[in-house]
């Protein structure tokens, strides 16, 4: 194992510069918020890693920090051609708030959902106004994720239901600045048999796909379900989408670990799921992906390793996914293959995952991790991440623009 790792490192050092053409030309990073310093810690960690979004001319980043000693949710925005973020606003109320999920609506508007005092809260944001906050349900709920078709918000979250947490979907009507709750339903009609956690949702024209972590087999697996086209709040029985390891690599015990699935719609009705997966258990977590298969009995197809073989020398963390209508698809994560934690990307080209690149400006000394990515309508890449000079030191939120090369 050690020889194999050393061989890969030597091969990496000895290899000529990559001939692969990166699809994006990256600008220099810029700070998302000027509020940082000792004892201030920022987090980009929504379920599904939706902390950045682009609407028309506006780029928005949502995060949580403890600048006034209480964790709260903040949003900063910038115009595309501006060199700095401004217009920073506090989104959450007076309680302890966590894990904001951000989605773009039309006309420079955004919707956010977050957890505050163990309840899910939501509001809309326009260029000039903050919509009223609505709070959902009466049970202990966490880990919200959002999707939208501009008239309607779809919210998923994990809510305590008896002994275990269970995934719910809530339909929300957008009415100007106001949000109005409509139907809500459990994504799995059967009562939870163990924890259901960290849901994320993708909206297609005529259906939604929800994926989450599920502990029903005695270890964590990724499961997904799609709803019925004719009955919005009726989901087909969920299916496991994270496969087991090959028989030669079977772990001892109930099963291997997986964590934190992300979904992204792309192309014409396609969806990619990506997550951290420890099926090669001696190597730690790798990033695996699977494609939604409309019309197939098996909801998602075979699992594919996203990172290249050099990724085997390091562990991969914090998978984030973005796609666009033209079919572009990119997965981001962080790993320490170059010594420090750097932001890495791989994109789909010629029907396979590209060699990995570390993003210039989101690499180098110190820690660069917790990426969140989005592709705009032109295929440009927008990336935000957490930067630190030391592991437990104060943090910053950084942003970087990748212009699509024609």
């Amino acid at each position: 194992m050690k020889l194999q790792t050393a061989g890969l490192v030597l091969l990496f050092i000895a290899s000529p510069l990559s001939v692969q053409a990166d699809p994006w030309e990256f600008s220099k990073p810029i700070a998302v918020t000027a509020t940082h310093g000792e004892k201030i810690f920022h987090h980009l960690e929504s379920s599904g890693r939706h902390n950045i979004a682009v609407s028309a001319d506006t780029i928005a980043v949502a995060w949580e920090d403890n600048r006034d000693a209480t964790p709260r949710i903040y949003l900063a925005r910038k115009a595309r051609n501006s060199q700095s973020f401004s217009n920073e606003v506090q989104i959450s109320g007076q309680g302890e708030a966590y894990e904001p999920s951000l989605i773009a609506l039309s006309n420079n508007r955004f919707a956010l959902a977050w957890e505050e005092d163990a309840r899910i809260h939501l509001r809309l944001v326009t260029p000039t106004e903050l919509g009223p906050i609505i709070s959902l349900g009466e049970g202990e709920a966490t880990q919200p994720g959002l999707a939208s078709d501009d008239q309607q918000l779809l919210l998923v979250y994990s809510q305590r239901d008896g002994r275990y947490a269970r995934i719910w979907m809530q339909d929300i009507k957008i009415n100007g600045l106001a949000l109005q709750t409509k139907q809500a339903c459990a994504v799995d009609a059967e009562p939870a048999k163990d924890e259901q956690l960290f849901p994320t949702i993708a909206k297609l024209k005529d259906r939604v796909i929800v994926a989450w972590e599920d502990r029903r087999p005695g270890h964590t697996i990724i499961m997904a379900a799609q709803n019925d086209q004719l009955n919005f709040c009726h989901f087909h029985p969920p299916q496991r989408i994270s496969e087991g390891p090959s028989s030669s690599r079977m772990p001892y015990g109930k099963g291997h670990g997986v964590a934190r699935v992300a979904l992204a719609p792309y192309g014409n009705g396609q969806v990619l799921a990506a997550w951290a997966d420890k099926r090669n258990f001696r190597d730690g977590y790798d990033i695996y992906s699977a494609n939604y298969q409309p019309g197939n009995n098996q909801l998602f197809g075979p699992n594919l390793s996203v990172q290249d073989s050099f990724g085997g020398v390091a562990q991969q963390w914090h998978a984030t996914v973005a796609g666009d209508h033209s079919g572009k698809l990119v997965v981001g994560w962080d790993d320490k293959r170059n010594g420090d934690a750097n932001i890495m990307l791989s994109w789909r080209e010629d029907n396979e995952w590209s060699d990995d690149i570390s993003v210039p400006g989101a690499d180098g000394t110190g820690e660069q991790n917790h990426p969140t990515i989005s592709l705009d309508a032109e295929g440009n890449l927008h990336l935000a991440w957490i930067a630190r000079s030391t592991t437990n030191g104060p943090s910053r939120v950084q942003y970087l623009f990748g212009r699509l090369i024609d």
Binding site: R163, P251, Y252, K254, G255, G257, A259
Partner: protein
């Protein structure tokens, strides 16, 4: 009513937990760090995960030993981290992190990983994978020698 809520809350916390060994005073990482600082004791941090087979094996075959239980309960403040859990902790720095993030920072890329740490979280020794009784005894000896040497300096 309070009693009912307490029972429900206990059931929830049990449901969310993975499997530290029975009979040991394992506690959450942040609470253990606080205790280690106030008592100036080293930490022994068990990074496991839900359904971890090698954790179960180590629990059955090594942590079940009476002498191991006595040594580890006496010499260390014990912390258990479910490396895939979203449970929130607050570090002495004031930062709020999840158990998974603690696992990431201490590179718990496989489970189990056992890390001996100073009270302020500096790693002293790390054991990766399934452990036998003698492995845990030898590791304790080594850590105690390290600590004694450091105390003499």
């Amino acid at each position: 009513m309070r009693a009912v809520l307490l029972i429900i809350s206990t059931l929830f916390s049990l449901a969310a937990m993975a499997e530290p060994p029975n009979g040991y005073p394992f506690q959450a990482f942040d609470k253990a760090m606080q205790q280690a600082r106030s008592e100036n004791k080293p930490l022994f941090v068990y990074f496991g995960r839900y359904g971890c087979g090698y954790c179960e094996k180590t629990n059955k075959e090594a942590f079940s030993d009476k002498q191991v239980r006595e040594i580890y309960s006496k010499n260390y403040v014990l912390a258990y981290v479910d490396s895939e859990s979203g449970k929130r902790l607050r570090l002495p720095s004031g930062e709020r992190v999840t158990e998974r993030e603690v696992g990431t920072r201490y590179n718990a890329f496989v489970t189990p990983v056992f890390t001996f740490m100073t009270a302020d979280g500096k790693p002293l020794l790390r054991l990766v994978g399934v452990q036998r009784i003698e492995d845990l005894q030898q590791a304790d000896n080594k850590v105690q020698r390290l600590l004694n040497k450091a105390a003499r300096l």
